[in-house]
Structure formats: structure tokens, C-alpha cells
């Protein structure tokens, strides 16, 4: 083991994988694009005053009536696809991140508590997780949305509901191994409070597998949200995500206007692939057994 700081070492390890580095750069670019969408996109796709119906369904690279170029074409309302994709990416990424963080917080709290206190709490949490994981996530999300209705808060709720069990299981499994170790015994014999041991001693040591899992789950959440929106059960039309853009393009696919669906799909694919590449590398970097 070198004496370098763990974070710097992890970063150097990470950068050693070239494909992962490319994935990371792509991801960073996409995140920046999503974050600054209102400033870098050529038009505000949801300001009706900026749309021109004469420009509807133009092919990529076509000139607009006002003289600009639509690099990725326009949709049926004369909306610039590039701008729509940037805004859609923003919504998709935000939903993915928020739902994952909420799911992580809930799942980890339950998982750690289950491992630490055991007994009926453990049995209850794990039975719930078993139950949850025995059904495909899309089915659970569909049912929840059928009952709850549409809306960004509801889809986040549905995504949290399908995710928490993964974190709870992983947190519990890791914590059960960690709690037998000496440092936990040391902390216990110092008579520290349960909360302090759990949060300051146990949690940090359980984090590596959870970080990897959460990274993968962000990609899964983005895909699931896009799928639900595509089915018309996710986000309302006022907050279009990539899934809704693709779904809109589906109506024009058969008449050969491929770009309305194609490019949002490429953006979605780029986001999911880059996240998965980063997660794959993180798994190797954060697993000390592989670093011998």
C-alpha cells in the first residue's frame, strides 16, 4: 500500500483504464450539457413564441425560416431537436439522480439498521426486500403509477420504490461482515452510541459496494423512467424527458421522419453506456481484493 491519500489513489487507479476514462469524459460532458441546457441550447423548446410551425419536421441540417440551422432536425411542432434533447437530458438525469439518492438513503438506513439490531426488524425488512425483488421492477413501477397517476414526484416515488431493496440487501450483507471486525468491537467497548457507531464507523466501511451499485442504478433508473414515459405513464407532457421525446417521434417513424426518435435515443444510450462504463471501473477500483 502506498501512502497516497485514498481518494487520489482511487482517482489514479480509475484513470488507468482507458475505456472507463472515455466513459467518464463522455458522462462529464453529458452532465454539463444537462446542467447548462438553458444557456447552451439554441432555443427554449418549450417557449411557444420561439417555435415556428413552418419549420416542423425538418430533416437534420435543414435551415430554419429565420436562417439558423437545425443540426438534428425539428419535431412536429417545429421544435429544434438538439434543444429538446438537452432539456430532456436535464429532466432524465435529474429524475435518475434524485430517485437514486432517495432510494439509497432509505435502503441503506433500513439495511444498516437490520444488520445492527437484527431480530424482528431484520426479518421484516428482508422479507419486504425479498418480496420486492421477486417482481420485475417495471411491473412494480407500472402498478404504482397506475394507482398514483402522473407527475414528476410520482415517478420519483415509483423509482425509489423499485430501488430501495437493492441497497437494503447490499448494505445489510456488507454490514453483517463488517460488524464482526475489531474496529466495531473497539467502538462498542468505548460505549459509543448506536447512532455514532452506525454512521461514523460502520457506514463508511460499507460504502464501496453501495457506490458501485448506486452508479449502476442511476443508469437503470434513467432507462426505466424513459420506458415509463414512452408508455405514457411517466412524466407529463410539460416536463418532457428523453423517453417522451422518443415516444413523440414514434408517431412519425412510419413516415420516414426517423430523427425525432433516433437522436433522443442516442442521447439516452450515451448516458446509460457512459454511466455503466464508469460503474464497471469503479467496481474494480473499489474492490481491494483485485488490487493485489
Amino acid at each position: 500500500m502506498t501512502a497516497r491519500k485514498p481518494l487520489a489513489r482511487a482517482a489514479a487507479d480509475f484513470a488507468a483504464g482507458r475505456i472507463a476514462l472515455a466513459g467518464f469524459v463522455l458522462l462529464a460532458l453529458l452532465l454539463l450539457a444537462a446542467l447548462f441546457a438553458p444557456w447552451i441550447s439554441p432555443q427554449n423548446p418549450y417557449d411557444l413564441a420561439q417555435l415556428d410551425l413552418l419549420d416542423s419536421r425538418l430533416a437534420p441540417g435543414a435551415r430554419s425560416a429565420a436562417g439558423g440551422i437545425y443540426w438534428l432536425g425539428t419535431d412536429d411542432q417545429g421544435r429544434d431537436m438538439l434543444s429538446a434533447i438537452l432539456y430532456g437530458l436535464r429532466t432524465s438525469v435529474a429524475v435518475g439522480l434524485v430517485s437514486t439518492l432517495c432510494g439509497l438513503a432509505i435502503g441503506v438506513s433500513l439495511g444498516l439498521a437490520a444488520a445492527w439490531f437484527g431480530g424482528w426488524l431484520d426479518a421484516l425488512v428482508m422479507r419486504l426486500a425479498d418480496l420486492q425483488l421477486s417482481f420485475p421492477s417495471i411491473l412494480i413501477a407500472l402498478v404504482l403509477l397506475a394507482v398514483l397517476g402522473q407527475g414528476i414526484d410520482k415517478i420519483i416515488l415509483a423509482l425509489v420504490a423499485v430501488q430501495w431493496a437493492y441497497y437494503a440487501r447490499t448494505a445489510r450483507a456488507t454490514a453483517l461482515v463488517e460488524r464482526r471486525k475489531d474496529y466495531i468491537e473497539a467502538a462498542t467497548s468505548l460505549a459509543l452510541s448506536h447512532a455514532r457507531i452506525l454512521l461514523r464507523h460502520l457506514l463508511p466501511n460499507c460504502l464501496p459496494p453501495l457506490i458501485v451499485l448506486a452508479t449502476v442504478q442511476v443508469a437503470a433508473a434513467i432507462t426505466l423512467e424513459a420506458t415509463l414515459s414512452f408508455l405514457g405513464l411517466g412524466l407529463p407532457i410539460t416536463e418532457p424527458s428523453l423517453g417522451l421525446l422518443i415516444s413523440n417521434g414514434f408517431n412519425y417513424l412510419l413516415s420516414g421522419h426517423y430523427w425525432i426518435s433516433f437522436f433522443p435515443g442516442i442521447a439516452l444510450l450515451a448516458a446509460v453506456v457512459s454511466i455503466n462504463l464508469v460503474a464497471d471501473r469503479l467496481r474494480d477500483v473499489l474492490n481491494p481484493q483485485l488490487r493485489q
Binding site: 421477486s134 417482481f135 412510419l254 446509460v272
Partner: protein, 311 residues
């Protein structure tokens, strides 16, 4: 007009009459079932109990579909063969293509073919299924014009069940949605087969078989394949349930007249009896699938029969 009004009123009354009860009660039974299925395998009394519940629900609790005015269960069962056919076709594609590709990638992990197979499988995991479906339509239906983009085509009766794989036209309709639905599991089977092969090739029994002078074909085809199959059978069985669930998406894209499309249509018009009925039937299918997987598992791997039950 009157029909629409009565429909609205009926739906309103239904909604006011605490729909949560209707949705949650059967759900808690499902949960009981799922838990039993997961923890115990399956035991008879609960299954019987479940069928009693189902019969009861079909007779009275579920009522008729608001949209179609026929019993919800009948409506769903009528569409089940289409979904099962699609799901089976998808699974067959995944297994028939996935096992050889995975074996190949596992036997020659360093080769260009092995690497590109693995890259393809990573892509299979990452590609959003519904978008791939659209692109398949774009390429094969719109640009090339080879295959139809929607519907099921003509069906023929096989033992009283309408199936479409008996005619060429049926195949032409089936192939795109099935390929789309197969994509994720194809990637999964390739990974499992590859990992299983790499592990098996290092085992003593393979070395022993080589020492005995068996041909490479026989070693891979019999000794390795048998051991690779165990995890694949489990996963394929468990995944069959999620294929049925994901068929919701594929059916919507390809306008395949199965239960999944019915579910989406029903959610859009708040046709609650159909939604509840769909859930009941899908959960029954899940339980049945888990049961069959457990049986197949213990048949393939004798160790499970003796020791603790495999989970």
C-alpha cells in the same frame, strides 16, 4: 353519449368506493404467495388457497371490464396466448443464440470474436429496449420494407389455442417483436454461458476427460455444457417472468395484441378490473414459473436434492 356518461359515473363510483381496498387486498395475497414461493418453494395449501381466491375474484370481485363490458379475466386470458407465444419465442432466441455465443466467448476469451461477443453483450444490457424496438421498425419495416411493423398476423388453431408460428406470415410478424424482447436476455445468457464455460474448463473433470482422450467436441458439448446449463436454466426460468412483464413495452411498440398492451390500454382508461385481473394472472404465472424452475433445478443438479434447498 349515455354510454359514456354511465361509464364515467360507474368509474367515479368505483373510484369513490375506495379503490385502494380493491388494489391492496389481492396484492397482499400475491405478496403472501410471492413470499411463500421465494422462501419455501411452493406448498400446496397456499396454492389452493390462491386458486380459491382467484375463482372468487373471477366470479364476483373483479366484475366486468369498463371498456369492453365483458368479464375482465376472460378478456385477459383471451390475450394470454399471444403474450406467451411472444415471450417463449424471445426466450428461445436468447437461449439458442446465447449459449453457443457464450461458449465461444468462454473458450476463446482473448480472440477478436470473443471480445466482440462480449462488447455486444454489454451493449445489449445498455440499450433501452423500447428504443431498439423503434429502430428495428425503422430499419426492417420502413427503410427495407421486409417485415410488417405491427400486429400479429393470421393465427391458426393448435389444440384450441390460437398461435401464429405455424404460418410464414405469422413468423414475419413474430420475428421483430421477439428479437426485440430477446435482446436483454440474450446478453444475459451470453454472460452466464461465458462465465460458466471459463470456470468449467479449469475443473478437474475436464482435465480428466482430456486425459481420457475424449474429443474436444465431446468435452465441450457434454461435460462443459451440462455444468454451464445449471445457472442458465435458473436464470432463464426466473427471467421468463420478467420477459412477460417487459412484453408490456414490446407489445405497445409492435401493437402485438397481448396482455401487456391490454394492461397499458386499461391503465390509460382506468379500467381497474382489468388491471387487477392482469396482476392476479401475472402473479399466478410467476408462482408457477418459480415452481417449474425449482423442479428443473433439482433435476439438473443432484446436489440440490440432497442438501439444503437451493435458493
Amino acid at each position: 353519449m349515455l354510454a359514456v356518461m354511465s361509464l364515467l359515473v360507474f368509474a367515479g363510483v368505483y373510484a369513490v368506493g375506495n379503490p385502494m381496498d380493491i388494489l391492496v387486498n389481492p396484492q397482499s395475497d400475491q405478496r403472501e404467495m410471492a413470499r411463500a414461493a421465494a422462501a419455501l418453494g411452493l406448498d400446496r395449501p397456499l396454492l389452493e388457497q390462491y386458486f380459491i381466491f382467484l375463482r372468487h375474484a373471477a366470479a364476483g370481485d373483479l366484475g366486468k371490464s369498463f371498456a369492453f363490458n365483458v368479464p375482465a379475466i376472460g378478456l385477459i386470458l383471451e390475450r394470454m396466448p399471444a403474450t406467451l407465444e411472444l415471450a417463449t419465442a424471445a426466450m428461445l432466441i436468447a437461449v439458442i443464440l446465447g449459449i453457443p455465443l457464450g461458449l465461444w466467448a468462454g473458450l476463446k476469451p482473448g480472440s477478436a470474436a470473443g471480445k466482440s461477443i462480449m462488447a455486444g453483450s454489454i451493449l445489449g444490457f445498455s440499450l433501452p429496449t423500447f428504443w431498439v424496438g423503434l429502430m428495428l421498425i425503422m430499419v426492417f419495416s420502413v427503410t427495407l420494407g421486409w417485415l410488417p411493423s405491427a400486429g400479429r398476423g393470421p393465427t391458426a388453431n393448435l389444440l384450441g389455442i390460437p398461435v401464429s408460428f405455424l404460418s410464414l406470415e405469422g413468423w414475419r410478424h413474430l420475428i421483430l417483436p421477439a428479437a426485440n424482447l430477446a435482446l436483454f436476455n440474450l446478453a444475459l445468457v451470453i454472460r452466464l454461458a461465458r462465465a460458466g464455460t471459463r470456470e468449467a474448463m479449469l475443473q478437474d473433470y475436464v482435465r480428466f476427460a482430456r486425459a481420457k482422450g475424449l474429443t474436444e467436441t465431446r468435452i465441450v458439448g457434454v461435460h462443459v455444457l451440462k455444468n454451464v446449463l445449471v445457472p442458465i436454466v435458473t436464470v432463464v426460468g426466473v427471467e421468463f417472468g420478467s420477459v412477460i412483464a417487459f412484453a408490456v413495452v414490446t407489445e405497445s411498440i409492435f401493437a402485438w395484441p397481448g396482455m401487456g398492451k391490454l394492461l397499458i390500454d386499461s391503465i390509460n382508461v382506468l379500467d381497474r378490473p382489468v388491471i387487477v385481473g392482469y396482476l392476479c394472472i401475472v402473479v399466478t404465472l410467476f408462482v408457477a414459473i418459480n415452481f417449474v424452475v425449482d423442479l428443473a433445478y433439482s433435476w439438473l443438479d443432484p446436489r440440490v436434492r440432497l442438501g439444503e434447498t437451493g435458493s
